[in-house]
Symmetry: D2
């Protein structure tokens, strides 16, 4: 029974069916009938004109956006625990040609207005220091916290005032939306977000993520950068079809709801052990090494996160018995 990553989950059957349906002759790259529906589908979802490009990884989505938002000689403000800083092998520097990540701190990997202001104010406005040009936040954060619209809007105001492009890494965007009940528009473009990495793979997709551009002027450049980075797949319809299937009839919300529900069941089993509130599908628990060993001995698989701390991640396909068993095991520690 694995709770180590939503990355390891299978794809949703409706996603596979969509691939099969798309498995017929059509124009290569992104000229096909499915790919051409993406702009419209995301414009509808967000209630504003938007452009959307498929990619195969969150790293690619994040870094293509950042490369368009920040010049090689600029800096991207982000949390010190951000995925782009810690788990993308330096991809932001690769795609941006050397832009700097300007790290801020804060509980639960959440970026606050004060932290952004302080980081930017610390930079002398001269040619010797790298000037901030973009802001990137993760929603839900790397510790499973979700931003509410006002929080994002406050950051958006700073971004606008300081001339920073604003990117949201939404690897678990669906989980955040389900958790807060926010209108997707309110935590993105209405709050000043220019580009959203809209994750599907952790949430039931097979290998398609969407990069949604509310600043539509970025789209043509990013399409070029996508090709230049080797990310323009020839049978792109197989990616577009996955995304359309996830959007169809709210499947992306249903799968996120299932993952979040499982997370809450686990959280409720040991509320006093929670390191952070559970606002998505990640649960960080204070658990001793011995306790962790006993959970593992009982057949549960998860990551040690720090001394005395474990991380559990639930996914769209998890419910019922395994989750109940783990909840019981945690409660019994």
């Amino acid at each position: 029974m694995r709770f180590f990553s939503d990355n390891a989950a299978p794809a949703h059957p409706r996603v596979l069916q969509a691939i099969e349906r798309a498995n017929r002759l059509d124009t290569a790259y992104d000229g096909d009938g499915w790919s051409r529906q993406l702009d419209g589908a995301f414009s509808d979802l967000f209630g504003t004109p938007a452009r959307a490009l498929w990619v195969t990884t969150g790293t690619a989505a994040n870094c293509l956006a950042l490369a368009a938002l920040c010049p090689p000689f600029g800096a991207i403000v982000c949390h010190k625990d951000a995925h782009i800083e810690n788990d993308e092998a330096g991809a932001p520097a690769f795609f941006t040609h050397g832009a700097k990540l300007m790290l801020v701190d804060g509980p639960g990997a959440k970026v606050t207005p004060d932290a952004v202001n302080a980081a930017c104010d610390r930079v002398r406005a001269d040619v010797h220091q790298v000037q901030p040009r973009a802001l990137s936040i993760t929603n839900a954060t790397e510790y499973g916290l979700a931003y509410v619209p006002d929080e994002v809007a406050a950051l958006g105001d700073i971004a606008r005032a300081r001339g920073l492009g604003f990117h949201m890494d939404g690897a678990r965007f669906a989980n955040a939306i389900v958790s807060t009940g926010a209108d997707p528009a309110d935590v993105t473009w209405r709050a000043g977000v220019d580009a959203l990495s809209f994750g599907f793979v952790k949430n039931g997709g097979l290998n398609a993520e969407a990069l949604v551009l509310f600043d539509m002027d970025l789209a043509d450049e990013i399409a070029v950068r996508r090709k230049r980075a080797g990310h323009l797949l020839s049978k792109g319809r197989m990616l577009a079809a996955q995304i359309l299937a996830m959007l169809d009839d709210g499947l992306w919300l249903d799968t996120a709801r299932a993952a979040n529900a499982a997370a809450h069941m686990l959280a409720d089993a040991a509320p006093d052990r929670l390191v952070y509130p559970v606002e998505a599908n990640e649960i960080f628990l204070n658990v001793s090494a011995d306790e962790a060993a006993s959970l593992r001995a009982a057949g549960f698989d998860f990551y040690d996160w720090a001394p005395g701390e474990i991380r559990l991640v639930t996914s769209w396909d998890q419910s019922g018995e395994p989750v109940e068993k783990l909840a019981a095991a945690i409660a019994a520690l």
Copy 2:
């Protein structure tokens, strides 16, 4: 009836079935059971220890290999009609951090020993000129010509003598192998090739290509570069499974055989119109604009390649009536 690109073809049913079978829980990225079989599968196929990494595009495969073979300040010798020069949006410069493509000429996009030697000899051995560090050829070439082992070995000798890494873009490797009947080992590692982009997507795959490294020392670095370029998919088993399905029971040879057979049927319809001999699944024909229009009017889809020249590409799923019809239409021009 489309003959404009093998990129537009569907994936083979056995590939889709393999994806479905792999669609269950396993470790993320490339730690899963399918990905871990790749090294062995390609080592068996080529009869030598090799490392193999999945990627989703030929551009990624080519450029990851080139980045490992050539430093940012070096040059890669290739044909002026090479895909890496013309159709990858500058991806080689992106992945290598600015290495130069040193172009050579020659009929049918084929690189000859004389051309490589002349290009290298033209470079002064000083710090003012970019020094050649790698050689890249395409097999089958961009004009559908296949290298025989001796041709590759002659280039391999030059590469070794001059200290050039040797890369083969095998987007249509299968078609070349089927066409020449060569042992895959003889046109690759035995001939001095260090890295092979082994294409599957044009030949029945969905979105998985293999980068096969005969110089196994390159593999760990390329694995890092793959992640850094956003090409480490989290559900990598869905790529590995495709490749294994293509290798299984020689499917990759069967599909290439079908495509090549269709190409020959078309070529035989108008041998005097051929711009190049047909040694894979591409046919370049001298056809006037009026003739091209009449073919299109009859329902055939293809690219104009140059004034008075069209390109037809056949794919693994094409046989029977549409091919016969086109052959007849060409013969009747």
Copy 3:
């Protein structure tokens, strides 16, 4: 008696004196009294508001300009014999983060409107091919030809029409101006040039070149890029002072006049041997290997350029006896 390069000449005494005068305390980098005069000095010289930054090499001047004019995913149209293509060790790719040089041909390293149009028209307007974004010409060219205002203006029209930034490598700008008698404004900003690498080192400077920006919006970004490339010297006043000394009282024209006069003396000695007309301070002569050997035996130093062709370069400090001797030796061949 050396005629192999104007790079090897000494600096003019007035340049050294200027350095000595500037050798006192002042603000570091480019905040000093000398550096702050550059914008004004070049604005006066060109009769239009301009920004000017010192750098220490022509390569840096060229490539900083190109990096501001062309994105990493764009192409720079230039002559196949351009210095940026042949003699800058791939610096354009380094500074631009991988932009492509799109090469055109033409006699004497001169770029023609037809060649630029043909090169650009050849590019498909899709994401697979690198799109042209800048044009760079060298004046005087690498073969010593000077552009007249109409020639530059014709290229400037194309640049504007096609959205290309327009850069002029003026390593021997002074020699070209003296040769054509053109108003500096007419071959630069009035003809559409956005950025000029204004060379001084070959013409009497010690180690200061100027990057003159007629598109003044480029200046702030280039100032950042200059620092980022390690080209912001702390005692910048020693560079600015050199440039001001060269501009003072037309010294830059006097030194170029001297070099050109020496070149013409040599050219007149063997008009029938000239490979190109002499319009600056470079002379390319058809001279057999035996003849070249005899010139060397007589104490003259120069480069073999191609089989049966030698290159002579005169410099600002050459006149009188050595030049007359060489002229006589050539005439006597």
Copy 4:
């Protein structure tokens, strides 16, 4: 009376004289008689075979070394207050093509073995995190502290054990040597340093720094990278001559001694105000805003470093009255 930066000082007269002497015809770039003496001069100074290249800035020296020591996908461990992190406009990322600076903390900008080990141990050995590949320290540090040989050797041991290239930024190397009395060999190659940026410009030079390579295998590659970065000046003899003049008869030690002596005079005036011990030519003092204002009113120029803290820097040409006056003024605060 300025105490804001040793960058603003004039060049030493003997340096100017050397330039004048070198101002005659010689081979361009670094083939001249002066440049060719550098390897020998530094080999003699350090008592070991070494290669040395001139450059014009410390940023260029640092970043060329780092680019040779660390691949684009690696990390360089350095102090969070290091010049390469704070004052080089992202040049390390530019030259290395995106390598990451892995920051450690510690008093006085000094890097300790524990800090390096902790930083490296924190990195998971997988492809998702950037792996450390180089270590860079500054000697004297950005806060004017000097390393003794044992401190460097302890870091060198770690570097060797962990496979890290080891670079020393010696912008104020002379001041550190004079301060500690260490043998230059003992704080560099004998302690495991591979590459030293040996600063001259702050210490009496005009615009020449030396990059000294104890790992001589780096030299040829760095020579290529130097050209590619536009740092190969055509009249390189004017740089080499400066360096040789500084080395001649220990001038570099004399000038550093003078600067350090002035620093100590200031430090002795207010020992209880010192933020750090004075071990080079920088003095950081706890001084209130009012006190700082009074010093400025008395004609002294310096930087505010932090609230309640000022930085004074002395230079080679400062002694006698101005220093005494400032010492008295500080003592009288």
